[in-house]
Symmetry: C2
Subunit: 251 residues, 2 copies
DNA sequence: AACCATGGTTCCATAAATCCGAACAAACGG
DNA sequence: CCGTTTGTTCGGATTTATGGAACCATGGTT
């Protein structure tokens, strides 16, 4: 089914900052003759997968993607309930929260809740980060058996630092990110899973480093952990480990 | 391109509460032989458009839809800026806000911002409402020339009530919904457009009817209208009309 | 254990769609 | 207006998609 594959490749070009694209660009990036690119994108327009922006030559994903992303979120009880839990913590503390999932070596945000606090965080839905470099990613990786983790990162140049860091996160029950992905911003994350579906999500809060004391931070970790523990009990997650403050690191 | 059309039809089944679907259901709903449905969905799984939920037979849209929805939102300066404007009003008043777009006779939400107030609103992204029955829809319809509006609703059974209602909304510069789509909930909406791309979005706030006084409501309408006016000026919207309280109705 | 129903997958000959380069059309900028 | 760039259409050979039949997997019943 080459047409479907080509269409998916076109759709996959939208990411990493690419919100709109022309026929010529698609042809160049996918190595398609311009006639093929033009015809494919015409067909994708006609079935709603793409749409043009006004009368311009720029194409973007079609509006149906809003429905599809919503259906994806709603398809999982775990994601739905985790989102509710994070929303509640966001309301409680006023900081931005979100839930993330892992896809291979990357994490991506599923839904976010903007806080009322001073920090304005651009939504990171649609962004993919290396999992080991983000609090959410580390929390999710910590759920993997050692063998699976080693296999996932086999041959990775930073293997020496990744494995111990994830192990520390696993022992601690949460992960912390200090100015790691965004200057001035700290993030805390706890992951929980559903053995019935094999899914796992990371619950996360982000806040400005400068305005949150260590005591505040611990309170938020505890709140996030309590919500996650509730989810873990509800879904019967055998891997879940509640945050443990007795051995502090920044994994 | 029949395969692409079929794939799009499969994807379009996700909506109106359908978050997951099996091969047999797809075959039945699209009138496809089960062999065709099976093969099509297998190909869609392989290119990431669909994924199964754990080991079950249930299929959902693939996670790539999160990226595509984000790209859709980011592809439009108007949507981005309108979202920021609504987020600010949500923070200011604590009520849930969102922006919507119109697709034919329907409206759908693009992005929402959950408030801190008592009202817990389930995200309506992924829901489609008849435009004329929603505040956002009426605000957007009010932007259409009379002839376009009449053509859009030609033959509609409620034409006698739709046209005057939209006209009233047009005269007033905003629309109001009182317990119309959700019991106990009121919504206010103002629409603004970008003549460069031909796009229009409705900015909207929803709040519990019981806790918001008419004075509060007017203040929120004014705040939303001021933000929309700023957008209208920035994008050069010749149709925009600021909220006008001198002739109150509930259009 | 054998059988049945249900849901899903694979096979294969035929039908339909796709492909690419060339020709053509449209849009843009000087 | 003209030249350049971008995008679209055409058509026959090639590739892919199709549907019914056969097969497979799973769970429940006798």
């Amino acid at each position: 089914m080459s047409t479907l594959t080509n269409a998916a490749e076109v759709l996959r070009l939208f990411g990493s900052g690419c919100h709109a694209i022309t026929v010529t660009e698609v042809g160049a990036r996918l190595g398609l003759p311009k006639a093929s690119a033009s015809r494919l994108m015409k067909a994708m327009r006609e079935c709603g997968m793409l749409e043009t922006i006004g009368d311009s030559r720029q194409h973007r994903p079609g509006a149906m993607m809003l429905d599809l992303a919503a259906a994806f979120r709603q398809s999982s009880s775990l994601m739905r309930d985790a989102a509710e839990a994070v929303a509640a913590v966001t309301r409680q503390y006023g900081h931005t929260g979100y839930i993330s999932i892992r896809i291979g070596q990357e994490v991506t945000a599923v839904v976010d809740f903007e806080g009322t606090a001073a920090l304005r965080v651009v939504s990171n839905i649609g962004q993919h980060l290396p999992a080991h470099l983000a609090a959410t990613g580390r929390a999710l990786l910590a759920r993997l058996p050692e063998t699976d983790l080693a296999a996932l990162y086999a041959g990775h140049s930073d293997l020496d630092t990744i494995l111990p860091r994830i192990a520390a996160c696993r022992a601690q029950g949460y992960s912390l990110s200090i100015q790691e992905t965004t200057p001035g911003v700290e993030g805390i994350s706890v992951a929980v899973g559903d053995p019935g579906t094999g899914e796992a999500v990371a619950l996360c809060l982000v806040y400005p480093h400068a305005v949150v004391t260590p005591q505040d931070r611990d309170a938020m970790i505890a709140a996030l952990g309590a919500r996650a523990a509730d989810l873990a009990q509800r879904f019967g997650d055998p891997i879940f480990r509640a945050p443990d403050f007795s051995n502090r690191t920044t994994p």
